[in-house]
């Protein structure tokens, strides 16, 4: 299924890359973020609810060329048990490509690899998604709000069947202090995965609050 999903995303990525290449007089903007996140994972399986949460640290590198943005993310940290779970280490890497046909609106594709390791085993998630992104100013151009809705058509989890429902949403605020190259973002992301199963379905959620402080360079 992952292979099929990748096949479907190829044209979209190609369009994005071509669009980026064809834009004349492109301005390149590179922003590096330091990131502190508070992830939480909740699982409901056979009536038992497991919850872990913790703190992850990471970085984001965004390169924007004209109307195309490519972003890479890396995070690593631990998740401590809140209910019925064991402590585990976790991390994720991701890449996102966004094309903005008009200012404040974009369509994007993303790939995320997330992994957990604990005393009971190792689990890896490969997530491929497409979505839309909007960003609006909050009165002052230095203050913006953004929202993202994603459909995750190709999700592979080791040791599990692929989910039949996989969705994600994100809302955040950003501030760009005037006269400085800094940018501060606060985001909340929520992912829902419903796995088929007998006699009961396995339900998982992964959400994360993140504070990012970035430094922007323009060329």
């Amino acid at each position: 299924m992952i292979a099929h999903a990748r096949f479907r995303l190829v044209p979209l990525v190609a369009v994005l890359v071509l669009a980026a290449r064809s834009s004349p007089a492109q301005r390149v903007e590179v922003t590096g973020f330091g990131l502190v996140a508070g992830p939480r994972s909740a699982v409901l399986h056979e009536g038992v609810r497991e919850t872990v949460e913790g703190v992850w640290l990471g970085a984001v590198l965004e390169v924007k060329v004209g109307r195309v943005l490519v972003s890479g993310t890396g995070l690593r940290g631990t998740l401590d048990p809140v209910a019925n779970a064991v402590r585990r280490d976790g991390g994720e890497q991701g890449v996102l490509v966004r094309f903005e046909p008009r200012a404040g609106f974009g369509v994007e594709a993303m790939y995320t690899a997330r992994a957990f390791r604990s005393a009971v085993g190792y689990q890896r998630w490969d997530i491929l998604g497409v979505g839309a992104w909007v960003s609006v100013p909050l009165g002052d151009p230095a203050l913006r709000a953004h929202a993202r809705a994603s459909y995750l058509p190709a999700v592979r989890v080791s040791g599990q069947p692929s989910p039949n429902v996989a969705l994600a949403a994100e809302v955040g605020a950003s501030a760009t202090p005037r006269g400085t190259p800094l940018q501060i973002r606060l985001t909340y992301r929520f992912e829902r995965f419903d796995f088929p199963g007998q006699p009961t379905a396995r339900l998982e959620e992964f959400d994360r609050i993140a504070l990012e402080v970035g430094y922007r360079m323009r060329r």
């Binding site: 409901l44 909050l138 009165g139 151009p141 230095a142 605020a173 959620e205 609050i209």
Partner: protein
């Protein structure tokens, strides 16, 4: 027939007495020969030559009618006013003469009845008229004051002082004559001057010792017309103006300014000094008096004198000014002008005239500011200018110029119209005398003089003497000289002008109203963030999430901040254009300076320095 009548009447008029002239004039009037009738009637109306009977009254009506028909309305009005003043019981003939004649007499009567000032003086002033011996077309009249034993000085408002007992030629009209003498009330009367007639006045001034009196001193800035108990007494400044002891209503008024009204009470022999009243423009704040305390103490005697004048301590100011005049080094025109004003305010018109003449002799450029000095003083100065013979020269004291492109400007002031001849002699000791300019001048003129010699090269360095000679058609002449030092000088480059300071610029944008859209978006996204876990989660896993709410609150706060911070900036095109023009003008000036510097680099200039002013 008209020509025949005219010839006959002209023949008969010669040597006729006034009664016959009136009859002949009336005949000419009846035949419609108005041009012939007017001089006959005017000559026959001499009140000293016959009774003021029906013929005289009818002739007066005919003369007024003839003048109106001849489109000489103003002259008709003067005759009507003269008649109303000299013959107050005159009955206007409304049957035989058209309404225009009746209107002229009605207006004249109203004008006289309105008082126009000087009623008290009228009763004490004898008036007589010296009629021309022969009728004829005359346009000028005259005014003469017969002196009595009192050393009196007189002036005519708008004309100037009347000197001696000579008749002062005047255009026909109504004039205000002011007579003043120390120890007497100042008297002001209005009289008509008729064409071909000399109006003779004999003032009988009322002595001050006849009743209990006080003395008023008041000035104003700017000058104003003074009324005491509703009667106009002249212009400010007034010094030692006698008035009966007791309360009086004082008003100082000036067009465009709020009148100053007050009630003063003056005691016997009291010298009431009100200082200088500051008149305020109509609608402005109240007027106030300034006394000597308002003047900053200064060791300068002239400043002390001016302060004394401001405080209406006129006699002390005169003393201080006289001391200054006695010192040649300080005998400046300003001192003479202040002395003239002080004497005028004291009613010493002859002395005022003398000091005005001295001021003009010291500096023919002397002028009085019409805003500060009243019309009578301006008239005095004009009259003094006419009777003074002087030439003044002004030139830049130290200047450098390129003689092939630029000229050296000198200003010349004269007191009478005439011809100027300007000569440059030098360089000393063997230089010759050259006529460099000549011109007609009425009052002042600025002449740009060339500093090129006959060979079209700049005049040689050295000492020169510039003489300005004035002469008029009557053979009168005056001259003034300047000693100059001419040298060569390399041109300096000009410094570039500094950029306009920020304070001169105007705001280019205006903040608009707070951003309601930002607030709505922030709250909307905040709510969205808060409800994501509720909307998106599976029902069995759903739970309240504080982190989503945290982001939601942050977004809402961002919206609130954007509401206040995100006020739109609306450009102000007028201010933007103004700032652009300011910058552009500055750049243009600096470009001009740069261009001038480019031309000046290496240019040899002629420097002219005045060594001794006239």
């Amino acid at each position: 027939m008209g020509f025949a009548l005219a010839a006959m009447l002209t023949r008969e008029a010669t040597g006729q007495d006034a009664r016959n002239l009136l009859r002949l004039g009336s005949q000419a009037y009846d035949f419609g020969e108005y041009r012939m009738a007017a001089p006959l009637l005017a000559a026959g109306l001499n009140p000293a030559a016959g009774p003021r009977d029906s013929l005289w009254v009818a002739s007066l009506h005919r003369l007024v009618h003839v003048l109106i028909e001849d489109r000489k309305d103003s002259l008709a009005a003067i005759w009507a006013r003269w008649a109303a003043r000299t013959h107050p019981g005159l009955v206007v003939d409304t049957l035989d003469f058209p309404p225009a004649v009746q209107d002229a007499f009605a207006l004249a009567g109203a004008s006289i009845a309105a008082g126009e000032g000087g009623r008290a003086g009228d009763t004490l002033t004898e008036t007589s008229w010296e009629w021309a011996r022969r009728p004829g077309e005359v346009t000028q009249g005259a005014l003469r004051i017969e002196r009595s034993g009192v050393p009196m000085s007189t002036f005519v408002e708008g004309v100037g002082p009347l000197a001696g007992e000579d008749a002062q030629p005047l255009a026909p009209g109504t004039y205000t004559i002011v007579a003043s003498a120390p120890g007497y009330f100042r008297t002001r009367v209005k009289r008509e001057v008729l064409p071909g007639v000399t109006t003779v006045l004999r003032f009988r001034l009322r002595g001050l010792s006849t009743k209990a009196l006080g003395f008023l001193y008041v000035g104003s800035a700017p000058w104003g017309a003074v009324q005491l108990d509703g009667e106009r007494v002249g212009y400010t400044p007034v010094a030692a103006g006698p008035l009966a002891a007791g309360p009086h209503r004082l008003r100082i008024e000036r067009v465009g300014y709020a009148p100053f009204d007050t009630v003063i009470t003056v005691g016997r022999d009291q010298r009431l000094r009100l200082g200088t009243i500051r008149l305020t423009t109509a609608g402005g704040g109240g007027a106030g008096a300034s006394g000597p305390a308002a003047e900053a103490p200064t060791p300068d005697a002239f400043a002390r004198a001016v302060a004394a004048l401001e405080a209406t301590e006129t006699e002390r100011a005169v003393e201080l000014l006289r001391q200054l005049v006695a010192t040649p080094a300080t005998a400046r025109p300003n001192v003479q002008l202040r002395l003239a004003v002080a004497h005028w305010s004291l009613g010493l018109f002859d002395s005022a005239g003398v000091h005005f003449q001295a001021a003009i002799s010291a500096d023919p450029f002397t002028r009085l500011d019409p805003e500060t000095f009243n019309p009578d003083l301006l008239t005095f100065l004009s009259a003094a200018r006419r009777t003074t013979r002087a030439v003044g020269v002004r030139a830049p004291t130290d200047t450098a110029l390129a003689p092939d492109r630029e000229r050296w400007p000198i200003s010349v002031a004269v007191t009478r119209p005439g011809t100027l001849r300007i000569r440059l002699a030098g360089p000393a000791p063997n230089g010759h005398d050259t006529l460099v300019a000549s011109a007609r001048v009425d009052s002042t003129i600025t002449l740009p003089l060339s500093l090129l010699g006959r060979d079209r090269a700049a005049i040689a360095a050295g000492t020169y003497r510039l003489s300005v000679e004035w002469s008029d058609s009557a053979g009168r002449a005056a001259a003034s000289t300047l000693a100059l030092e001419v040298s060569e000088q390399l041109a300096d480059t000009l410094r570039h002008e500094a950029a306009p300071p920020d304070s001169l610029y105007r705001l280019e944008v205006r903040l608009g109203p707070p951003s309601r859209a930002g607030l709505v978006r922030g709250v909307g996204f905040g709510v969205g963030a808060s409800v994501i876990p509720l909307l998106l989660a599976n029902g069995r896993l759903r739970s309240a999430d504080g982190r989503a709410a945290t982001v939601g609150v942050a977004l809402s706060l961002g919206g609130v901040a954007g509401y206040f911070l995100g006020r739109s900036r609306q450009p102000l095109p007028q201010n933007i254009a103004y700032n652009r023009a300011l910058r552009s003008d500055w750049e243009t000036r600096n470009r001009a300076i740069a261009a001038a510097n480019e031309q000046r680099r290496g240019v040899l200039l002629v420097r002219v320095r005045i060594v001794s002013p006239p």
